[in-house]
């Protein structure tokens, strides 16, 4: 199946986790979309293409030195910025966060194995080196499937440490590391090391957080964390707006597409050429990737017929509301036409959003023919935007929606 995945903002190849996230998305798409049928065409093969435009996105001349780093930050000294929301998430899930300091992962797992797996996945993806990408992606996919099938395995009651939890979880999910018939006199799975490192980092952060003002209030609620976590939120917003401005300024036009449209259109053309023929063309756009994809299909290449367009955690309707698309019609809405028109070359459009995701917008009050799909990532404000594609459940639900298409 020609399937093109257009990434969103905050995606940079040089950053840890890029390749692992890409591989994880690929594995989930292959597992859950295989043999789906769209417009009467079966998806027998799922070989997604991932056009990369992150190197054309925004750069910060002072490396975001403009982000405030004053007293609020000092209150949370000892916990890395990007871990703060995760610590808050764990605090929210647990009834007694203080009691989780000694073995935070195990405590979380006993409350909810799936949440513990997600926390671990989040940490792994943040720091996965390219060399570890395959083992990390395989482990996350397998661990999520295991946690969904075994929400409270009996072995959880018999272990006492985070490290035992990690070893047991990897044993149970069993992603082979050596050639069949061969055994090593050492680690049985290479994911153990990055996983142990992630767990140690989490434990350190939970312990440090316990000594902050948050702990003294006895309240880990996410609302307080919004202040504590201002810096990472600011950073995400900064990169988001930066990439938006870069795209709008440099997208070019139909006769002379800019660099970002050229990269993505080139990959779409290649995907259509590679085929296989007779299978549906599907484009998935995450975040700004959805906006860009919509712009490309509605203005740059209306001649490309897409069987299914899936926008996830995206701002397509928001951009239409402020009339930023090349093909936006300022006279809509009007008495005669209440909704903007979904381009005819988009045969089906599914838009997915999590109400907690501050970058995600509903579309069915702005566009016709779009099917909105609410999806709860069960995460927190900042994390939600990137969580969809890390969760096997997301792809299961998406497949169910695809199967419901006329």
């Amino acid at each position: 199946m020609p399937l093109v995945f257009v990434h969103g903002v905050n995606t940079r190849k040089g950053e840890p986790g890029y390749e692992a996230q890409r591989l994880l998305t690929e594995k989930f798409l292959q597992k859950h979309l295989k043999d789906a049928s769209i417009n009467g065409k079966a998806m027998a093969t799922v070989k997604p293409r991932f056009p990369y435009w992150g190197d054309l996105g925004t750069e910060f001349a002072w490396n975001m030195a403009s982000l405030p780093a004053g007293q609020i930050n000092a209150l949370g000294a000892g916990v890395e910025d990007d871990l703060r929301p995760l610590i808050g998430f764990i605090g929210d899930v647990l009834a007694d966060p203080k009691g989780a300091q000694a073995q935070p992962l195990l405590t979380l797992a006993r409350k909810s194995l799936l949440h513990a797996v997600r926390a671990v996945s989040d940490l792994l993806l943040r720091q996965a080196k390219p060399a570890d990408a395959e083992s990390v992606a395989s482990f996350i996919a397998a661990a999520q499937a295991y946690a969904e099938a075994n929400p409270q395995p009996a072995w959880l009651a018999a272990i006492t440490t985070d490290q035992q939890f990690i070893n047991k979880l990897v044993s149970e999910t069993a992603t082979a590391s050596v050639a069949p018939g061969t055994q090593a006199l050492g680690l049985f799975d290479p994911v153990i090391n990055p996983l142990s490192a992630a767990a140690a980092k989490l434990k350190g952060a939970v312990t440090s957080a316990a000594s902050t003002v948050l702990n003294k209030t006895g309240d880990f609620a996410s609302t307080k964390l919004l202040a504590w976590g201002r810096r990472p939120l600011n950073a995400v917003l900064g990169r988001f707006f930066g990439d938006v401005f870069v795209y709008l300024d440099a997208r070019g036009d139909k006769n002379a597409p800019g660099a970002i449209p050229s990269v993505i259109l080139g990959e779409i053309a290649q995907a259509m050429q590679d085929g296989p023929a007779g299978e549906p063309l599907v484009i998935i756009g995450h975040s700004l990737g959805g906006v860009i994809s919509f712009d490309l299909l509605s203005y740059f290449r209306p001649d490309i017929t897409v069987d299914l367009f899936i926008s996830v955690g995206s701002q397509v309707s928001h951009f239409e509301e402020i009339k930023r698309f090349k093909n936006s019609n300022a006279s809509i809405p009007s008495a005669q036409q209440k909704l903007a028109t979904t381009p005819a070359n988009i045969r089906h459009w599914i838009n997915v959003f999590d109400e907690v995701d501050i970058f995600a917008y509903a579309c069915d009050k702005v566009f016709d023919r779009v099917r909105d799909f609410r999806y709860d990532t069960e995460t927190y404000t900042i994390k939600a935007h990137g969580a969809y594609f890390e969760q096997g459940r997301f792809y299961q639900r998406l497949r169910a929606r695809i199967d419901q298409l006329p």
């Binding site: 490290q163 006199l185 050492g186 049985f188 153990i192 142990s196």
Partner: protein, 377 residues
Amino acid sequence: MSLIWPDSEANVVTNQARLHAFVIGVADYPHLNGGSGPMANDPLGLTQVTTPQHTAPAMAEWLMNGHSNPACQLGSLEMLVSPAVQIPVPAGGKAPADPAKMAEIKRSFAKWEKRCSSHADNIAFFYFCGHGLNKTDQFLLPEDFGDPALPNEWANCINFDWMRVGMRKCKAQTQIFFVDACRETPFGMLTQVNVGGDGLISASITDTVACSAAYYATTQGRQAYGPDNDVTYFGQAVLCCLKGVGGLKKGPKWVVDTYSLGNALGQVMAQLARRHALPLTCNPDVGGMARIHEPAAARVVAAVECSSPAANNVAEIILSRGATLIQSLLGQNKPIIEEVEAGDWTIDVRFPGGQYPVFPPQQYTFVPPVFEGVPVP
């Protein structure tokens, strides 16, 4: 029982030079993943393995039946294996080996070291096969490693580097160590602040040894491998080298000495890596020359293939020596990697499809440790 040969301590020869061996194989780790006991506080990503259960007996079999060194015959074989196995002995019957728990290792080590110290010309021969870890020092893990009931998680653990240094106190002036174990550093080990282990023996600054050779199954930071339910690849390489591939011609005899063994091990492991497509390496660390074994004949690992993959795909390769024939016909795996006797061999490379010119069979002399390649086409 840990003394496998001879049948009693009283029969151990101590007034003449002898090779005294201590072989440990650990394939049962109750406190690691998949184990039968309470799980270690941090199992460090280690699980159950089967290869040591086959490797240790194979080494014992060679020591008792294959070792030959007129100047230093086998004097004793001390052996611990987990899970317990019965070891066939030359006199017939079998001798049981005690489990390789830390307490038994300490007891057996003390007895072995005492035998080794009985004569300066003795050879102290140590072979460990089981899980290993490395954090500056090399650690070898007995059966009861990681027992969560102990406050010191490293109490049941051999610090091999300390042991090797400590063995300077032993009077045997030839000491040979084989570390058939991984040398990785799990992250969980890095988080431990006082990783120690037991060196089993201490030495002073005035203690020295003439020849101390350590042969590691892999380089630092990497894994050692083996086929399920069989001898480890390093164990296979050691036995292959001792049986003649590590031989050097010294006068009328073929001799495996500490340096020739190191070179041959490296060469053989490289060929095993090709054959099994695994990242196999080894790390000989030889300090001092000593004669280990005198094989009856020299042997060679022959690794024969054409000069290009394209030619390999359409070639038939036939090695012959007298009535011995080794061949890889069309569609069969290449290179041919086989252990063969040293000497003159004929190599015939044919291209049934006529893709390359006809080459007449060529004569080659195979010399230990490895014969590699043919220059066609």
